[in-house]
Symmetry: C2
Subunit: 353 residues, 2 copies
């Protein structure tokens, strides 16, 4: 079992995703500021994992806060964590969940507030794993047996508290006895596919083949791919999907070649306040991610760079969105609203919580 | 002026494209075997440049061959050079041109044969530069003024004897007074875009912005790109285009977003013996190009890899093919045959030769 993020007596422990696969090292964040830095520098990344990190960041912040003027400190902690990355809505969802709890317990003694926030943050983590297993169960029947799944970026155990969204569907399909393998886009510039997806699939003994991003079209056109499954960072009310840069290109190429394109994400990734994907803020990251590889400059000095970290895939390219509440299909305006409204606790799959 | 390949008293001198942009070093190939190695290891690359290298390889091979049994040696030299890389037809075109000359002069004294072959190889180089200028003149009117040109890989001076095909069109548009800039796909795995295209555009003062391959769709969708221009490694009779891996994806994304997709190539890139692109052999290169970057491993040990170096873009995605004889449009079966048949020497643009 890959432990992406955990709470322990010293702080918030994360596997350092900037150093995988060369080194399997763990970072302990001992303050909310260190959690914010870890999110910003992508020691932890992946929308659901960022949601868990944000919740734990709030909890550690209040655990260390002076008892006086707790409300103002709570706001400051939440604001700093919210300012780390703009695109993945799970970050704001995680903070909002902690805010709602805080509002209901702020009259309690500070020691109790601290305990309750820590317990909630740990619960967010545990629930995330259960949610991913539910996504896997809903998605596994969609994966064609005996075929190859193409994925982009890492929507695996490392992008979540465990098990994964897109790779959770792959894992569930394998557990259900399907014979599948995965083609992993390397996912420039941060190489989440080459470094993280291949690593965690090797870990589980699921056959994986690494390709560069620009080879996806070749294999889709060649009939090699049975379906595409990716994660998401934010999904608008109409089913437009923000995800790692390059997802849009894969989606267009999948549709052009009649290959199903699935998005796997928890309902915490839905942002039904946005009518469509044009309203999703797209983070632009630093130039060095593009001009350098592993710290070595590849482009000439003085090269101008663009580095949008995400793109938006319009809903017409999305065959289905797989959530822990079930599978949504077009028209998404209705299906997503319906899935979002389902009471999670009614789901027998979550009865264990 | 960037000198990609030249003949001098010591042998065939090439700028080492595996070391750019960090180092501007030149390699002298002193035998046909060294020329073959330089093609195989991509010290020189780009379809037209490979054609020139092949012709020079034949010339240096015969220059060093023993006078006895010259026919057999000629065949062996041609066979070794032909076995270096399979996709770019210009390689075989360059060898074939030398074969035809040899057949017509093999009765001459060996010293004269040597001189004639060397003169022919030098002529192939000089003609290539003139051809690229003609491609530029035909293509420049197609480039929208005040917009951004997207290109993939390097179809520039470094991919030819000079001036470039796709970048030749860009250069000609700039020389014609158009205000344009270039977005360059980095072009994994070999990074021809990041390393070579940006470098040579900087050299000429043409504004260039580097993006990763998977960002092309984002900028095409955002309306940022006025047109796409790429080179080609082989073009079938029906207009299907083999070019650097990832070209197909860019072409599909361009069409999806109503952006013109142009291919710039000399008629020596046409292979009218092939009815369509499914017959074009696609080179698969070694795993280390994908698992390593600048010699540093990024993917885990034991990672399975696919590494097709080219893909085929079906003709329906190609807005026009720009050659030194003029611009071909669909239906390509007729337009390419017509362009191929035009007598090059009738073209006033080549009157200087």
């Amino acid at each position: 079992m890959i432990e992406t993020i955990q709470w322990n007596a010293d702080g918030v422990v994360m596997i350092d995703q900037t150093r995988l696969p060369a080194e399997e090292t763990y970072v302990t964040c001992r303050s909310y500021g260190e959690v914010a830095d870890a999110i910003r520098t992508m020691i932890i990344r992946g929308a659901p994992a960022i949601g868990v990190a944000a919740a734990m960041g709030v909890a550690i912040g209040i655990a260390q806060a002076a008892p006086a003027d707790l409300d103002a400190q709570f706001e400051r902690i939440c604001a700093e964590l919210a300012a780390t990355r703009p695109t993945a809505v799970n970050l704001f969802w995680g903070i909002e969940r902690m805010k709602q709890l805080y509002a209901s317990i702020r009259h309690l003694p500070v020691e109790q507030i601290r305990e309750r926030l820590i317990a909630e943050a740990k619960l967010v983590r545990e629930e995330d794993i259960e949610i991913n297993r539910a996504i896997g169960r809903h998605g596994a029947p969609l994966v064609p047996d005996g075929r190859t799944v193409l994925t982009h970026c890492n929507a695996g155990a490392l992008a979540t508290a465990g098990y994964g969204t897109a790779l959770g569907v792959v894992r569930a399909a394998v557990e259900a006895g399907k014979h599948i393998d995965v083609y992993a886009d390397e996912t420039r510039p941060f190489l989440q596919g080459a470094r993280l997806t291949v690593w965690e699939l090797q870990h589980d003994g699921i056959p994986a083949t690494l390709i560069t991003d620009n080879m996806a079209g070749y294999f889709l056109h060649a009939g090699k791919i049975g379906c595409v499954i990716v994660g998401a960072d934010r999904i608008a009310a109409n089913g437009d999907v923000a995800n790692k840069i390059g997802t849009y290109g894969v989606a267009v190429l999948a549709k052009e070649n009649n290959v199903p394109f699935y998005v796997a994400a928890p309902v915490s990734t839905l942002d039904l306040t946005l009518p469509d994907g044009t309203h999703i803020p797209i983070e632009e990251r630093g130039e060095a991610e593009v001009t350098h590889l592993q710290g070595i400059r590849v482009a000439p000095e003085g090269t101008a760079v663009r580095n949008p970290a995400f793109d938006v895939t319009p809903n017409r390219y999305v065959t289905a969105i797989i959530t822990e509440h079930g599978v949504a299909r077009a028209p998404y305006l209705e299906s997503l609203r319906e899935l979002d409204g389902r009471d999670r606790l009614d789901e027998p799959i979550l009865a264990g919580l």
